[in-house]
């Protein structure tokens, strides 16, 4: 087996170190080049991976001999898609900062690369302990990014975020050690050993809750979402993009990889509760998004609603639900990064994100308004955009679980369209005349990012098959543990 995945991880860690030694003036360009190399390197794996549900690029080193801890990584279809998403978004996120002033930028980009390294690790780790290390490691750089480059109140908000998520992770650690102690013979953290455990229903319930809380906080699922709107609003745009675009996928990925197959019994027992919480989250967050006046905060709440639908889909344990979740994770990642970037562009020009203070921008900014519209339509799941395929599959899955649930879950599409289109109207349309002096036309870097995102929105919306094909056998593998 080729060791390309290991090289990719090493390269990302090296990128982080290289960035520290760059000069602040060159850090932007250097970071962009490094991240594009990362992306191209992981993209070439497209041609090597086959759609048979097998695990590719397996590497396995002994890390701590006495405790059976291994450095074991590998990719199947699910991991592969998320790794691609991460490595595709990071260059975009770095590129989106090109037109902005970022103080002490080498540290900023170094932290982004550390984050990228940890995220790739989370999505590929096949050893429980390693998974935990990467999971926690992802928290440290994002904490510093959100705090040091964040808004006025960032000390308090980010510390809350940190402790909130850490409490979940530590519970997960307890669960992992518990599982480890159940493995027969010489204990091991290997994921396959976890899959093969025969736990009784009490043990399964215990493990379910320790893991579920960690994942639910990360996503976040109602009522554990209270850290999210403040953190998203206060963080620097790049931090918000990392959080919403990639980091919340850690939670969903965790459920798919580490929860469903490990405790299938408890899944059946508790899925009703999980789905109800997710659906409450959808309706609740959509309603709050309706009344938000701050555009960035509105996207933050819409993100809770979208994630609620994804998690409801995952917990239905149907092939449609999981496939939809896989697909929607990607499209949500792309769309939300686009939306937050638009919010950043608006704030950069107008110095405000309040919907009632904006308006009339479309009169002078044709390109911007078209690109904004495309990304927004992706987010409200219009057919032929990427959001549609994901939400359609998810709702099919939820419908199989229960028609009423699907009805409530479906409200995300309707309400989403309401608040998204209304905000578009408030920001872009109207008689106000915004002169090009105030709203300077898009810089090339900004235009490039938005165009790439718009192309992906439509491209994957029209032709989704390759992505779904990659995920399908692996998703079936996961579900085979259930039945």
């Amino acid at each position: 087996m080729s060791k390309d995945l290991l090289y990719l991880l090493i390269f990302q860690l090296l990128s982080c170190i290289i960035c520290i030694f760059l000069k602040n003036e060159n850090a932007k360009k250097g970071a962009l080049i490094l991240s594009i190399i990362s992306f191209l390197f992981s993209f070439h794996m497209f041609f090597e991976i086959k759609n048979d549900g097998g695990t590719y690029y397996l590497t396995d080193f002994v890390w701590v001999q006495q405790l059976g801890i291994h450095f074991k990584t590998g990719m199947d279809g699910i991991s592969f898609l998320l790794v691609q998403l991460t490595n595709f978004l990071v260059p975009l996120i770095i590129f989106s900062s090109f037109n902005r002033e970022i103080k002490n930028s080498r540290a900023f980009y170094a932290l982004i690369f550390l984050m990228q390294f940890a995220l790739n690790g989370v999505f590929t780790a096949l050893d429980g302990f390693l998974f935990y290390i990467f999971w926690e490691l992802a928290l440290i750089p994002i904490y510093f990014i959100c705090w040091l480059w964040g808004g006025k109140d960032s000390v308090r908000i980010t510390l809350k975020f940190f402790i909130y998520t850490l409490s979940g992770s530590l519970l997960m650690l307890v669960g992992l050690i518990y599982l480890y102690l159940q493995t027969p013979g010489e204990h091991t953290f290997d994921i396959n050993a976890f899959y093969n455990l025969q736990l009784d229903s009490h043990q399964q319930t215990f493990i379910f809750w320790t893991f579920f809380l960690a994942f639910a906080i990360k996503m976040p699922i109602f009522p554990l979402h209270t850290w999210q709107p403040d953190t998203y609003t206060d963080a620097p745009t790049q931090g918000t993009m990392l959080l919403s675009g990639i980091m919340l996928k850690m939670g969903i990925y965790g459920v798919i990889r580490w929860l469903i197959p490990v405790v299938p019994g408890a899944m059946h027992e508790w899925l009703t509760l999980a789905i109800i919480l997710s659906v409450i989250g959808i309706v609740y967050a959509s309603c709050i998004a309706l009344v938000q006046k701050d555009f960035k905060r509105m996207i933050a709440y819409s993100s809770i609603a979208h994630v609620g639908l994804i998690s409801a889909g995952v917990f239905t344990l149907t092939i449609e639900g999981l496939q939809g979740a896989m697909y929607q994770m990607i499209s949500h990642g792309v769309n939300v990064v686009g939306l937050f970037f638009i919010a950043d562009i608006l704030f950069d020009r107008m110095k405000t994100r309040q919907l009632d203070e904006l308006g009339g921008i479309a009169n002078s900014q044709r390109t911007f308004s078209i690109l904004f519209m495309i990304i927004l339509l992706g987010s409200v799941a219009l057919p032929l955009t990427n959001g549609f395929i994901g939400e359609f599959l998810l709702l099919t899955g939820v419908y199989k679980y229960g028609a009423w649930t699907a009805l409530f879950a479906g409200s995300t599409v309707i309400l989403g369209a309401v608040y998204m289109l209304r905000s578009y109207k408030a920001i872009m349309l109207g008689d106000k005349n915004v002169s090009p002096e105030i709203f300077t036309p898009l810089a090339n870097s900004e235009k490039t990012v938005l165009i790439i995102i718009a192309v992906v929105v439509i491209g994957t919306g029209v032709y989704a098959k390759p992505l779904l094909d990659i995920a399908e056998p692996s998703v079936k593998n996961i579900l085979s543990h259930i039945h």
Binding site: L67, L166, S167, L173
Partner: protein, 458 residues
């Protein structure tokens, strides 16, 4: 055994230094002696000799902890360089520290209760003096007096406990007590249990566990910073090593009776230590309370009492001591030049000393138990030991108190990196102090990434 002789010899040599006028060379001499002692200690690896009519047993447990004590002492001497140059009675300080280190070595390798007691006293008496070594400072005097009173009090309990145990078993030897208790575990007299309780009280005093922790904050706060660092690291490590050695050998046959007690004390200690630390504004007092909390974590390993426990204590003591030495170094430098011991005194530190700030952050993350630093792995290992003994509730409390810990540890990092902090050029942070920070930071990271070596020891 050579280790004990080497270190005692070094102590005597230091006393002669003043008279024979080689005070200047003493520092190098002591450092070289400590390296020699470290090498000598590991020569005895896997031999398990016993000395002095079975009063000391140099098994791997003893060697591992002696090694740790010597390494920490080495780092400590590096950080306290200025303590020895600015004082008139420097040579005495060298001697006192080395003797107390010798006491620590005895405490980790005793095989007999009398030896245990002698070791403890050698360690403590030197420290009573050192706590008051800042003679003109009233807080230092208070600290010394308090430490002495409390220490003497604890010793009384301990001695009484030893006497009761002797009364039942008719021997001081650990192995023979263990055999006696094992054979008569059904019908041990009440005074045997009373003996255990009294010894437990004495030891809990020494490791500053709740409810016997009251002396710790004041003593730590009043003593000169370097002496506080010594107390928080070496004394604690030696006390825990002795604690576990005593209870795991002598009283393992009645473990069902005392482990729940320690588990409860551990839970209260962790929670209370961490909660009280939150309210401190002085960095030194915060570290004092955090050291109480850390004692709670280590007690978890004692309460688990399985094959993992000794390794967990070693790993935790290592991680904690390394981080403490590093942070105390910073406190020492900052407070001796600005007189400010508060957390906000570190404001602007990241602007004037960017690299040092990164190292301090690593040490703080280690104390808070965030991967991939040593403190995380140590905490993981303790959790693992506890879950192995089915102490799930205790682990959940430990999780909770770790979260509280993060809250106040991060205040240090926040203070250093706060954007509104002005550059602070009042103190220079270079040379030997920086070296200590670098060593502790690198070691903490290395142990966190490759803990296999330390785990393999015990």
């Amino acid at each position: 055994m050579n280790v004990l002789l080497t270190i005692s010899g070094l102590g005597i040599l230091s006393m002669l230094a003043e008279m024979l006028k080689f005070k200047k060379q003493l520092f190098i001499l002591v450092l070289a002696g400590l390296i020699g002692a470290l090498i000598l200690s590991f020569i005895d690896w896997n031999t398990g000799f016993s000395y002095y009519h079975d009063m000391m047993l140099v098994d791997n447990y003893a060697i591992a902890f002696s090694g740790l004590l010597i390494v920490i002492a080495f780092l400590w001497f590096l950080m306290s360089r200025s303590y020895f140059t600015s004082e008139t009675s420097a040579a005495d300080h060298y001697a006192l520290i080395l003797f107390s280190l010798a006491g620590g070595i005895v405490m980790v390798s005793f095989a007999d209760l009398t030896m245990f007691f002698i070791g403890l006293e050698i360690l403590s008496v030197s420290l009573y003096v050192l706590a008051g070594s800042d003679k003109l400072n009233i807080k230092s005097n208070e600290s010394a007096l308090k430490y002495f009173m409390m220490g003497a009090f604890a010793t009384g309990f301990l001695l009484f406990g030893i006497a009761l145990i002797y009364g039942v078993c008719g021997t001081f030897n650990l192995r023979e007590i263990a055999i006696y208790a094992g054979q008569n575990s059904e019908n041990l007299p009440v005074i045997f249990y009373a003996g255990i309780i009294l010894m437990l009280v004495g030891l809990l005093f020494k490791v500053s566990a709740v409810p016997f922790h009251f002396w710790a904050p004041d003593v730590y706060d009043g003593a000169p910073t370097v002496v506080t660092a010594y107390m928080a690291t070496i004394v604690k490590t030696a006390a825990f090593a002795a604690f576990y050695r005593l209870f795991s050998t002598c009283f393992s046959s009645v473990a069902d009776w005392w482990t729940p007690l320690i588990a409860i004390i551990s839970a209260i200690t962790m929670l209370l230590g961490n909660i009280l630390a939150v309210y401190q504004t002085s960095l030194k007092r915060m570290l004092a309370y955090s050291s109480i909390a850390h004692a709670g974590y280590i007690l978890m390993a004692v309460a688990s009492l399985n094959q993992t426990s000794s390794g967990a204590i070693l790993l935790y003591a290592t991680a904690y001591s390394l981080a403490s030495i590093g942070i105390f170094t910073v406190l020492h430098v900052v407070s001796s030049s600005t007189g400010d011991e508060s957390i906000s005194g570190l404001k602007g530190f990241s602007k004037s000393h960017p690299f040092a700030s990164v190292l301090i952050s690593i040490l703080i993350l280690s104390m808070a138990g965030i991967p991939p630093v040593a403190g995380f792995f140590a905490k993981y290992y303790i959790f693992y030991a506890a879950l192995k003994s089915d102490l799930t509730w205790l682990v959940l409390i430990a999780v909770l108190s770790s979260l509280i810990g993060v809250y106040y540890y991060f205040r240090v990092i926040i203070a250093m990196y706060q954007p509104d902090g002005k550059e602070n050029k009042n103190f220079s942070f270079e040379g030997i102090n920086f070296l200590v920070l670098l060593l502790t930071g690198i070691l903490s990271l290395a142990i966190g990434i490759a803990p296999g070596f330390l785990i393999g020891l015990l």
